[in-house]
Amino acid sequence: MENLYTFFKNMRKDWPLFLFPIIVCLAFASIFIGNEQTVFVSRIQVQSRGDRQWDSLSIPVYQTILKNPTVIRSAQIALKKDYNIAVSQAQLVASVTTKPVVHGNAMVIAATARDPELATAMGKQVTASMYYTLGTYLPTKDLRIDPRATVKQQGANPVYALLISLLSGLAIGQGLRLLMRRRGKGELDV
């Protein structure tokens, strides 16, 4: 039995067991840093027409319309016609997610794809289809697509990558050490 302090103190004895996994994990993590996928994020704002009230409570409800077959189908057709992009409805559903802005009047639509243009096109088109579908459902509301859409590269955040590789390196090292001790005691011999 040891606590973490004594564990790290004793770790020095078996340093290669811990160091090499950490290095390997870091090397592996470096692949994912920076160049993974592109996320296109856009917003639709909903406002009551008369009193200009925000409609934050109903946003999660509207959100569920996003993956309504009507929206997805019209987006799919428009993508082919306007952007020359052929994706199946299932792929479109899988690439697009939505979440509400907490305490806000907008829902956020995020499209993810490896190709930045694909992400942008899918995001814009699904947003537009959503905008028109919502418009027919909610004749008393003012809808607006927020012009400030963002495109960002989704890769591993270096801090997380470091933390994750450190932890997994330590776990692998400890696993190896356990295995070696048991092998040393002859527990693993048949």
Partner: protein
């Protein structure tokens, strides 16, 4: 002994099952992108590339669309998705001879740029991406609302704001960044404009006959200031370079503008440009080429849209035949959408605009009327 063996078998089975599940899920989740480029023999895109997402090793069956004036060696293709993003090509072969024959018999010839990142649908093309990519298109028409794209191998150069100019047997197409020179509209000399210390970028140039000489009108940032202004400089037809050291500023372009065009009339010089913020087209007149130009007429755009890049349509004799301007608006996504070009046959009085329509939504359009009426 046997229990240990059983244990090992069980552990092995569990590990295999876990690996199998991870493998299967990863396989079902993995996707790859296939980009199919439709290009002519020069590698210049003819239409927007087709992008499709699929599972690695799956096959995408493509029936290539017919493009008028081009032939395909085969219409059916099978492309395989590979891991990551893969690029494929479908080559279109232009029927240049037949097309050139039609072009030479046509009443109008023009040049424009086609954005080859997206398609045109119902005469509108939006530019959703951070960067757009334009290629040259030469067009001909007998009626102004029925333009045909001349089929040839276009230079694989990003072309913005092209203007057409005829000098002897040469066609010159000036664009932002350089000049194209051709005799048959199939073989192109691509001449990039050499920047001078004073002018780093030559934007939206156009060539004009001034007396017996040729001048280049272009926009550039005013030295030591940030705003764009219009300049005129002599043009050397043999080298294809403007003499930027002799450039003179044109006075009379007020408000931010990205392109200006002028021609020499019988009683003076006419200048046209559009103001970027309002989309209003101004036509101004001056006795001298450098101005100062004074307002003659305004063309105010339809609400919601913006007019830009006006040019004068001339005939082969250099006589003005009208004014051409293009239009854009911002669609519901906030994207810039091109919705075509318009021509008015008189420049000093209001005439009903004719929409120039063709196979794609025209950007800056420069027209020359061929032959006699």
């Amino acid at each position: 002994m046997s229990s240990k063996r059983q244990n090992r078998i069980r552990n092995g089975l569990i590990a295999t099952a876990i690996l199998l599940v991870i493998g299967l899920v990863s396989y079902w989740k993995s996707s790859s992108t296939l980009v199919i480029n439709f290009v002519d023999e020069n590698g210049t895109p003819v239409t927007a590339p087709l992008k499709t997402i699929g599972r690695p090793n799956a096959v995408y069956n493509l029936t290539a669309a017919k493009v008028p004036g081009y032939t395909l060696n085969r219409t059916h293709y099978q492309f395989k998705y590979t891991y990551g993003t893969s690029q494929q090509q479908v080559i279109y072969h232009p029927d240049t001879v037949a097309s050139l024959d039609k072009l030479l018999k046509a009443k109008y010839i023009g040049v424009s740029a086609q954005d080859i990142t997206t398609n045109t649908f119902n005469g509108v093309q939006s530019t959703p991406y951070e960067q757009s990519d334009n290629r040259l298109r030469v067009l001909y028409a007998n009626r102004l609302n029925d333009w045909h794209t001349f089929s040839t191998n276009y230079p694989d150069v990003a072309i913005q704001d092209p203007t057409l100019f005829q000098l002897g047997e040469f066609w010159f197409i000036a664009y932002t960044g350089g000049v194209l020179r051709s005799t048959d509209l199939s073989n192109w000399d691509v001449i990039a404009t050499t920047p001078s210390p004073k002018f780093h970028n030559v934007i939206a140039p156009s060539l004009v006959h001034v007396g017996k000489k040729t001048d280049m009108i272009f926009m550039a940032t005013v030295p030591k200031r940030k705003e764009l202004a219009s300049f005129v400089a002599p043009f050397n037809e043999t080298t294809g370079q403007p003499k930027l050291t002799q450039a003179k500023r044109i006075r009379g372009v007020t408000g931010p503008s990205t392109s200006a065009s002028l021609y020499q009339g019988r009683t003076g010089y006419y200048l046209t440009y559009s103001e970027q913020d309002s989309g209003v087209v101004y036509i101004k007149k001056s006795k001298t080429i450098t101005g100062k130009y004074r307002l003659v007429r305004k063309i105010v755009p339809v609400k919601g849209s913006f007019y830009y890049a006006p040019t004068f349509a001339l005939d082969e004799a250099g006589k003005v035949r009208g004014i051409v301007y293009s239009s854009y608006y911002y669609d519901e996504s906030g994207d810039l959408a091109y919705n075509g070009a318009f021509m008015q046959s008189k420049i000093l009085t209001k005439t009903p605009p004719i929409q120039l329509t063709g196979q794609f939504a025209f950007q800056k359009f420069s027209v020359i009327k061929l032959g006699a009426d």
